[in-house]
Amino acid sequence: MLNTQALAGAQYRESNIEAFEELVRTYDQKLYRVALRLTGNADEAKDLAQEALFRAYRSFDKFKIGTSFEKWLFRIASNLYIDKLRKHGKYRFESLDEPIATKDGYIEKTLPDWTGNPEEIVEQNELSEKIQAALQSLPINYRMAVVLYDLEGFSYEEISGILDCSIGTVRSRIHRGRRLLRKKLAPYVYQETEVGVG
């Protein structure tokens, strides 16, 4: 359990970056994952997660001691993402392995090295891309709810706190989001269902 009380003390207020880092280290990976699933782009995800942590650091004074730091942090991130979407219109979708165009030609992005046979890797890559593309196609409210629940395991109640809406709304967003995803990923979904039934 994090001692947020102690961190909110004088030591933290003297811009103790180490203490802040220690506090958020538990969440940085999770935050980056959510950012990546929301944006669909590694660079934007890094920017979003860094910006969220920077804002959390800057406005730590506003954090209410005794409440969930995790919820507070993810609320900052989700608000930040919505603000960016409003400001720049829609985030463009970029494939995770799409080459980056530079003045000297194209640079290939490197993907994580999955162990397993090449066919499995190709299939896994393809499936990941399809799922990510399907997620990207969801309206932002559905996408956030689905990502927070299905990928990061927040409860409906926590999501309602993060997204500042009722539990009923969270329930509805997750359900609608899943139905849309099912439609987009139909071949994989029904393949899975058949395997499950068989």
């Binding site: 990941s128 359900h175 899943r178």
Partner: protein, 196 residues
Amino acid sequence: MTCEKVRSLLSAYIDSELDYQELRQVELHLLDCTYCQEECRSLRATKDLLGMLESPQLPREFWPELKERINSHSVSEFYRRLLVRVLVPACALLALAILPIALSSNTGASKGLTEAKTDLVEPYIREYVISELDRPFSDKTSLGFVATAQAVTMYSSDLLEPYGHPTPHKGVTPSGQTGRKTQIDAFKRVMFLSPK
């Protein structure tokens, strides 16, 4: 419970987020309705599919970049606070302390400046303007440009002499409203009027 109502609750049912009453009703309905069973199965498969996404690793440069940003923010924040809390009040106090002294010595300062200006005017300008004014067809406008406002102001006493005006103390411009009026009149004379 109708199929439509049950279908709207299926995701929450899969996630175990229904209350006891709703859970019972959904379970009872699913016992008999194959359509809703299939719906439930496909939604569960969709959820499971999402779980197959790879978990990305945090980029190596993530924390070094963030720390650098926080550090630079802390430094700029330090200077901002220094400015707001120390320098601005200090300047305000200093200004408050200096203002009465400056106001009390205002007349003396102005006088000193006027005297200093006298030294800056080239003597040949004065000589040239005076000599040209005596000539019958001299161009007064052109002379007005040559003898700049400053030159005329500084040497108003000299310029007024040929026209029979009373001579103030040489080299010192009379201060105050009356002095300024005299300077303007002298300037107009040089520029536009013939000698008496």
